[in-house]
């Protein structure tokens, strides 16, 4: 039996044969490789973490392990045997269970059914509900969960549902347990309970993949971690040998590129009036008590890890999500931003990080995409004349360098960078005063990236204020006049870009290693 007598922390891990191994794993979506020749392994009885920013390939790798996506190249080995999983169910039968972030359970059925459906105890050709409830109670008590197994799942809190999903996973012969962001809906007590369960499973020799953007938790529970960036393997490390700041470094990458920085006159800012001043912005637990100030013609960079609240902040300022607390003042006037349309009417526009789903309309032409928001703002009965539309679209295509410069092309066929420019063109056509850009350069090629960075600079020079969010710190510092640093849903600091370096921001983003002892009761 592999894993017997094996102890997580002081054992010689590297000598145990891996329970699960991926060699040269590659998954392509069209021309892009979401996972590019990645090697990955999990040892029996270890807790392993997968670390990376959005789009680093984490979820693709998980899907490859759990049979949700086929590998385009590479081999998956489980207990020394090469395996191909046709479906998640297939992988589950082989001993790989997954608890998904969006809990993949049935809210309308009972807790017991959610644990056993598909392999429920039978009696007289039917489901033996009593035996099922009894077994469910046993599994639930293993997790320290005292709930009625016959109760309907949907009536319980999300945290309980999460534990039920884990109960389902461990009620089978589980060898590899994948937990995808399992703690995002749990409170401290519940996290502690989950960790107790994880340690117990570890003792049984189960390999656990713990994926979380909470680095504290990763450091608390994980033995080793694998870092991915842009679909490529950065490396595999022992948690106790890798400083947190080094980890963040590896996650975010470090382009050797020289930081140009925009040349601006700091004195000029003193007499420009504040355009936006937000105080105590709170939306759920995503962003708490955040203060943001922006003057005319200023670029505010926003730095923070995934889950730090950077998107929540952008959505709140952009009028997408309602504030639960706090005020947003535009030119000293309190403004209630009830909807994106209302925000637009006072000159605030927001560009989502999800280009394809919340950005361009891929079925419409380039021209239609550009004039869409403007037409909506004018009202649909005051139609912009076709000739005027064409002229307008052509001027934006020209100004932003959208390639190919074909107004009738379907937007969906453009490259990512050009789609991003198209989104910008649409928003700029509204003549906004504040542009909120959430990861405008994610997943686009280097040339388009530089174009967008330069464009933001030019716009700011012409008096437009920009909130610029990016996972890449270099970029944030290069583009932003000042930088707001977010961590765990709070604005930790706001500084002038000239006063900070990538390393000093990294340290703030990652949280210093010393302050970890809090939270232990």
């Amino acid at each position: 039996m592999p894993g017997q007598g094996f102890t997580g922390h002081n054992g010689r891990m590297d000598q145990a044969p891996p329970l699960l191994e991926l060699a040269g794993a590659t998954v392509r979506f069209g021309a892009d490789a979401a996972l590019d020749n990645v090697d990955f392994r999990m040892l029996p009885g270890e807790v392993h973490s997968l670390i990376g920013e959005n789009g680093a390939g984490k979820s693709t790798l998980i899907k490859a392990i759990t049979g949700a996506l086929p590998l385009d190249a590479g081999v998956l080995t489980l207990e020394g045997e090469v395996r191909h999983f046709a479906s998640p169910h297939d992988a589950q039968l082989a001993g790989i269970s997954t608890v998904y972030q969006e809990i993949e359970l049935l809210p309308n059925l009972s807790v017991a059914e959610n644990i056993y459906l598909g392999r429920e105890p039978r009696r007289f050709g039917g489901v033996d509900a009593r035996a099922m409830r009894r077994d469910a109670r046993a599994v639930l008590s293993e997790l320290g969960l005292d709930i009625d197994p016959a109760s309907i799942l949907g009536t319980h809190a999300l945290a309980v549902q999460q534990l039920v999903a884990i109960a389902r996973a461990i009620s089978t012969e589980v060898k590899v347990l994948v937990l995808d962001e399992p703690t995002s809906s749990l409170d401290l007590d519940e996290v502690a309970e989950l960790f107790r369960v994880i340690r117990e499973l570890k003792q049984r020799g189960v390999a656990i993949l713990f994926v979380s953007h909470f680095l504290d938790q990763v450091y608390e529970i994980c033995d080793r971690l694998t870092v991915l960036r842009d679909g490529k393997l950065v490396g595999e490390f022992r948690t106790d040998e890798l400083l947190r700041i080094d980890l963040v470094h590896k996650m975010l990458g470090h382009e050797a590129a020289e930081i140009r920085g925009r040349q601006r006159e700091p004195a000029a800012q003193a007499d420009v009036q504040a355009l936006v001043s937000a105080r105590g912005v709170t939306v759920g637990t995503g962003i708490v008590d955040a203060d943001v100030d922006l003057v005319e013609g200023e670029v505010l960079g926003v730095a923070g890890l995934l889950g730090s609240g950077r998107t929540e902040l952008a959505r709140a300022i952009g009028g997408i999500d309602q504030l639960q607390a706090g005020v947003i003042r535009i030119e000293q006037k309190d403004r209630h931003l009830g909807s994106p349309a209302q925000a637009m009417s006072i000159g605030i526009v927001y560009s989502s990080e999800n280009r394809r789903t919340e950005g361009i309309v891929s079925e419409l032409s380039v021209q239609e995409n550009i004039t869409l928001a403007l037409q909506a703002q004018k009202g649909f009965f005051r139609r912009i004349k076709p000739a005027r539309q064409r002229e307008l679209a052509a001027s934006w295509v020209e100004a932003l360098g959208i390639r190919p410069p074909d107004l009738d092309r379907r937007a969906g066929t453009l490259s990512g960078g050009n789609q991003q420019k198209l989104m910008l063109a649409r928003l700029l056509a509204l003549a906004p005063r504040l542009l909120v850009l959430d990861e405008p350069t994610r997943g686009i090629d280097v040339g388009a990236k530089a174009d967008i960075q330069n464009l933001v600079g030019e716009l700011a020079d012409n008096g437009l204020s920009v909130m610029f969010i990016s996972a890449e710190l270099e970029e944030v510092l290069r583009v932003g006049d000042r930088v707001a640093i977010l961590r765990d849903g709070r604005v930790v600091e706001t500084r002038s870009s000239a006063d900070v370096t990538v390393d000093s921001v990294l340290a703030l983003v990652a949280r210093p290693d010393e302050s970890e002892s809090e939270g232990e009761a």
Binding site: N108, L117, A150
Partner: protein, 339 residues
Amino acid sequence: MTTMEIAPPERAAKNPGLQTFLGRHASLMPTFAALAILILLFVGAQIYFGNFISARNISALLLDNAYLLILAVGMTFVIVTGGIDLSVGSVMAFTGILLAKMLGTGIPAVVAVPTILVGGAVIGLLIGVLVQYFNVQPFIASLAGLFLARGLAYVVSLSSIKVEDTSLLWLQSTRLKVGDWYITPTGIIALLVVVVGALVMQFTRFGRTIYAIGGSESSAHLMGLNVARTKVMVYVISGVCAGLAGLVLTAYTGAGYPRNGIGTELDAIAAVVIGGTLLTGGRGYVLGSMIGVFVYGSITTVISFMGAEQSWTRIIVGSLLLLFIVVQRAIVARSERRR
């Protein structure tokens, strides 16, 4: 700074028994509401007319609505998966007229009846395959089934065909009496369908898979449940029920008629929804649908007692439907908020 005194939200109240019951059967609430309305209808009509709650009247309720009850059971299977079957009224007409025609040409009932049931099953299978394997919206797929079956009914005969076959007429004319209460074999068939339907839905893996699909198809798939087969099967079951309803209706009216059941699919859907089944799937009970059918039938009876125009049935059923959909929406919204 971080303390561990985070108390769990106290929502367990004084009555643990009631709490357990609600935790287990929250989705029964709309069905209870339907039951309450049914009782209200009966009591109100009794007070108003004085002779409404009688053995004769209630026996007639089952007899008159047996075909609708059978359709509603099949429809419940489909709606709980989150689908819809618009074909059942036409399939009932088609199988009914086919039955009358076959019996008229001397084919014995033991051959004719299984034939029409298979006919219903085949149309259901067609719809199910369209929905599952060709990814056609259930609304559209069953609309195609509706037109197909209606057309086939006209192909069989353009006019009414009277049934002379004694075994078929026996289904309707036999009255098993206990005092003033009576039940016909058609009523027994309908009740059997209800019982079998309820047992299958509640206690078999197939039945639980139906609920699972309605709850979340992708989750059901991830759990390794046989989603494809189940989704096809519910349409087959609905088709068979429609065939059976064709048999019962033909026995009830003593004739097959190709124009029967125009709009009956909507009556069945209304009864199912009034009975507490969620149109979006995942929640609902066969017994609830039976209550829904009785609510529907009682309204019809009350209207005829009053001597009013039957179009009032439609107006009242329409209003009830609206009310129930709003109530369901509120219940779903509430349970989503609690999460």
